[in-house]
């Protein structure tokens, strides 16, 4: 199959989660929506159910969700709820609501109230610990994950055994590895993987069943790895932020010969950096996997005064061969906004040019972003 056809197939999935959900339901499968992020999706897979990521939508406006949400909640969370209210994703059999940020924490209760009021689906509350690495933090994570496990068992109607979780960990490690490899290959071959297609491939992973997705992605990776060395003559950047999956916005990068060398985007690489142990106690393995996550705006850092995350991102830019960084700042994302001065400090110290673009998922006009990106490409081309 040609690369273009492969990308079209990934796009078909990425741009139509409702169709995927309908197909799963028609096949008699149970499906669990998973909000951002760091939820132990492995437990859903181990239960024999299909997890589907819920990261908002680029095609909807907030209407019905306004009844439940504060206006300062980010559009990702509000549009995820909108999709549960307007018939797009309400065939789900349940949702997991992590509470990893100041919006998702109260929002978990808005989901709970809305879903209970409308008799739609159970909501599974998930609280991660702030101190995730000490023994008590690991135990807290295990306890929380066990709560999730038991609530999933109530939905699927059977116990989720340790062996099934261990198998799920193997499936997810393979899935993460394939995604990491794709990110690397896409950065090496921008002539073959546009920013629009790169995003579609990564986004489809949230909706497809993991073994099928991994198999398809590994085949794509094999084709990309066999390509001759790239003769790309544009500029390379690193992207950062919570999410940047709007094809209209990403096409601006393609139109201006700007390639994504790699990313520090939560929806893309931030949540595939760490694998879980495939042996031993699988619940401890999942807890340790979360404990080992690092360099994330949303995670507590005992050594935050050292600006480790800022330096990590600056090094990411340098090591990837990119010339600059584009930060897609999600509107109303307090953690990203508050972290920005530290990121800027680290980038300035490393003499890495960057721009910050304010975005939200209800934006339809990107004229201002196009101007800024085109000018940034000019600056990087000097």
């Amino acid at each position: 199959m040609s690369l273009e056809n492969t990308f079209k197939e990934f796009q078909a999935v990425a741009y139509n989660p409702k169709k995927c959900l309908n197909e799963y339901k028609a096949a008699g499968k149970k499906v669990i929506g998973v909000l951002p992020y760091y939820a132990p999706e492995e437990l859903v897979y181990a239960a024999g159910m299909v997890p589907m990521g819920m990261w908002g939508s680029n095609n909807k406006n907030i209407g019905l969700a306004k009844e439940y949400c504060a206006t300062f909640y980010c559009t990702i969370a509000q549009l995820a709820l909108e999709m549960l209210l307007d018939g797009t994703m309400d065939q789900l059999d349940g949702i997991i609501t992590p509470t990893i940020c100041d919006t998702l924490r109260p929002m978990s209760q808005n989901f709970r109230v809305a879903m209970a009021k409308l008799h739609k689906m159970p909501t599974i509350f998930l609280a991660h610990p702030q101190y995730r690495r000490p023994a008590f933090g690991l135990q807290f994570t295990i306890d929380q994950y066990n709560n999730v496990r038991h609530e999933l068992e109530a939905i699927c109607g059977h116990e989720i055994g340790e062996e099934a979780i261990r198998d799920a960990i193997k499936v997810y490690n393979k899935y993460r590895q394939a995604r990491r490899e794709f990110v690397k290959l896409a950065g090496e071959h921008p002539e073959a993987v546009s920013a629009v297609n790169r995003s579609a491939v990564l986004k489809a992973g949230y909706f497809m069943e993991k073994p099928a997705y991994t198999e398809k992605l590994e085949a794509l990776n094999k084709e990309l790895a066999a390509l001759p060395a790239s003769n790309w003559n544009g500029v390379k950047i690193v992207t950062s932020g919570i999410i940047c999956d709007n094809p209209v916005l990403l096409k601006i990068l393609d139109d201006n010969n700007i390639a994504i060398a790699t990313d520090d985007v939560a929806h893309e690489s931030r949540c595939i950096r760490v694998d879980a142990d495939e042996t031993g106690d699988p619940m401890m393995a999942l807890a340790k996997q979360f404990a080992n996550e690092d360099y994330d705006v949303l995670l507590y850092d005992e050594a935050s005064n050292q600006n480790r995350r800022g330096e990590f991102v600056a090094n990411l830019v340098k090591e990837s061969g990119a010339k600059g960084l584009v930060l897609f700042m999600q509107q109303f994302c307090d953690p990203e906004e508050m972290e920005y001065p530290y990121l800027k400090k680290a980038l300035d110290a490393a003499q890495i040019p960057h721009i910050k673009l304010g975005i939200d998922q209800q934006m339809r006009d990107f004229g201002q972003a196009a101007t800024a990106l085109q000018a940034f490409a000019d600056v990087l081309s000097l």
Binding site: P353, G358, Q368, T371, A372, A375, D378
Partner: protein, 263 residues
């Protein structure tokens, strides 16, 4: 044989053209007070060509910039962002420029220039506060023309405090001041300082260095310029060609591209 190049700046509120001979001499210029999505660009092109007695075919290279730069397919040979063009145009007029401030119809841009090239910039977010649109809204509420604002502010005896955070709230404040019988000229002065506060916050992010040049139509408003000078603590230079700086930069880039084509 001379090389003629055309720079077209299709802004959100006006269309401007500059024709250059050999990348040095301005042969003709035009300005139409409507911008992207209107008849403005076509009329501005027609006017600039008529001014020089030339045709489009006489142009070796035509380059579009501004908010509506992508709308000139088939007319322009290439397009570039208005940030790059304003920086280029300002550096042509003031070779020692280090900071360029461009207040456009719907956005504000600050550029840091080194050796005539833009090396860093900042743009406002989607909010209209601090932009030309903000001034238009306020002028309408005050029942004056936007181009009268500078003159009226100069007659003010005291400044009224106007919020610098939101166009909608600021409009309410202006209406409230009018209802209280406050002198329009004092309100206008307050509006200018409101814009200056907003813009200087943006400019300070890139670090202000002399020489500071302000471009774009709003630079014709002396009230804004002096409020901004006070806020930034730097002298701001404005050219009589201030509205044409983007088009001038486009014509200069067009000349560079024309030379490359000939090589």
């Amino acid at each position: 044989m001379s090389i003629y190049t055309l720079g077209i700046d299709v802004g959100s509120t006006a269309s401007k053209c500059i024709m250059l001979q050999d990348g040095r001499e301005i042969v003709s210029k035009s300005l139409i007070d409507v911008g992207a999505g209107t008849s403005g660009p076509a009329r501005a092109i027609e006017a600039v060509l008529a001014g020089a007695g030339m045709t489009r075919e006489d142009m070796t290279f035509t380059l579009a910039t501004g908010y509506g730069r992508n709308s000139l397919e088939g007319i322009a040979d290439a397009q570039m962002s208005e940030l790059s063009c304003h920086a280029k145009g300002a550096a042509f007029l003031y070779p020692d420029v280090r900071t360029v401030i461009d207040i456009g119809g719907q956005d504000v841009k600050a550029m840091h220039i080194e050796n005539g090239a833009m090396v860093n910039f900042q743009m406002n977010d989607k909010c209209a506060a601090g932009t030309g649109r903000f001034l238009d809204v306020m002028a309408r509420v005050l029942e004056v023309r936007t181009d009268e604002l500078g003159t009226l502010a100069a007659q003010s005896t005291k400044r009224v405090a106007i919020s610098s955070t939101c166009t909608v709230f600021a409009e309410s404040e202006v209406i409230s001041q009018l209802a209280q019988g406050t002198d329009k000229r004092d309100i206008i002065k307050g509006i200018h300082y409101s814009v200056a506060n907003r813009v200087s916050g943006l400019v300070n992010r890139i670090g202000v260095q002399d020489r500071v040049v302000m471009t774009g139509g709003v630079a014709q408003n002396k009230g804004i310029v002096s409020a901004l000078e006070e806020s930034l603590g730097h002298i701001i230079y404005t050219s009589p060609l201030t509205q044409y700086v983007g088009a001038l930069g486009a014509a200069l880039f067009a000349y560079q591209k024309a030379l490359k084509m000939k090589q």
